[in-house]
Symmetry: C2
Subunit: 282 residues, 2 copies
Amino acid sequence: MKTYLDCYPCFFSQTIKTSRMITSDDRKIREILDAVSLFLPKVSFEASPPEIGREVYRIISDITGVEDPYQEIKERCTEHALSIYPKLKRIIESSDDRLMTAVRLAIAGNVIDFGANANFDLKKDIEMILSQDFAINHYKEFREKLDKAKKILYLADNAGETVFDRLLIEKIRKPVIYAVREKAVINDAVRKDALDAGLDEVAEIISSGTDAPGTILNLCSEEFLKIYRSSDLIISKGQGNYEGLSEENHPVFFLLKVKCPVIARDIGVKNGSIIFMKAKNK
Amino acid sequence: MKTYLDCYPCFFSQTIKTSRMITSDDRKIREILDAVSLFLPKVSFEASPPEIGREVYRIISDITGVEDPYQEIKERCTEHALSIYPKLKRIIESSDDRLMTAVRLAIAGNVIDFGANANFDLKKDIEMILSQDFAINHYKEFREKLDKAKKILYLADNAGETVFDRLLIEKIRKPVIYAVREKAVINDAVRKDALDAGLDEVAEIISSGTDAPGTILNLCSEEFLKIYRSSDLIISKGQGNYEGLSEENHPVFFLLKVKCPVIARDIGVKNGSIIFMKAKNK
């Protein structure tokens, strides 16, 4: 997905939000905003939002000297998600379609996204998403692909959400490769976050090779690309991965809750929708 | 009021909104956004939002060659307000406290602000504001000042709202000088808009001498400043005038509906509040 004009104000909102997690010094934040201001005119708007978001995040990191402002929050989200893991497991096991319930919970986990919305109420959101209708639902195609799949790649999104991914991977009952970001960016999961959530017990953890907050193929490592290209089923979690892969001609299934009006318009659904959608060009 | 960090994203939202009224060419709007991006780091954040808003508006105007993108909308707002003028007049005349009702309607007219919020429902808003409690209400002090006032200056805000101002001025029953912007900026009233609303029948119309979307004294003409300084009662409509005069040591009464969370925080009230407040330092 290309960057839309309406992403512009949002880059600044996100900059302020992330900067405030690091400092309460308005002069320092103003310095960051100015640097972002001077950077944006240099960017091609053919670039996708995560490509720009990555640079914005680097500017914040360079000016403040703080590499991972979300570290504590990420750990707290993971701990919180782990504390309800047994309960979530029971919800899945007592449901009629366990795979479907695991898919829904994987989306519920996608609500944990401090980048898009700082106010979230996990319990309420889980209940809502378990009963919410999908705006787009390619579950049947997914099941068919899954039955035949030999190599499954799962693209992680945020820390904490990782615990919910684990629940879905446990229901997939096939070997899964779980890809996280190479370096900290917003609250996206890196290797440590995946390990904290116990993903190593159910999948092979790899890195995308980039610190973009989404899967931007031309920024990914050759090692990752090899696995990506040879996978016959890819589960892509969250908005950032969608933004990077929305035009892909590859067996990608996007699993996300839409939290932004621009992405809602790009997909053609209402903001707040839940989506289980195969890539358009496939 | 100084510019807050949270005004930053809003400058870009406003830029997009105003630009879209002129063109649907995203490349042109991107050019405008880039120019705004390069301009903002040069600005002192001691500047108030209307000082920056003025420059942003000039950038849009310079790049597109369109001087007054809101002209049609302003005319439509004025026509619409004039069409309900007799009805509003009856509401005032049949009320217990006619001056108070006129004050309330003057605030209701402040809802017509395409700069702050494009979606407005005038009839509903009038009904609501006629019954809404003031978050701050210095009406008693205002009446006392008004009784003694010899020179009253009324600072206009938006076109259309002008008709509501006229209703209040009619109830003031003293000579009033009505100040509009010198040149078009957003949907703020200029001389033509005041004339369209019939303000010349109830007041002397003057210009602030500036195209800032608020009363920024160091940008106003000497002629305006002379009148401002010698006035013993000033009625200031809307957010833009508040932003310019919030720190003033002068008998200013601010009459507005708060439509922005930053101004709400600055005043110390909830967003959406209605305010009739004398200047803090007076």
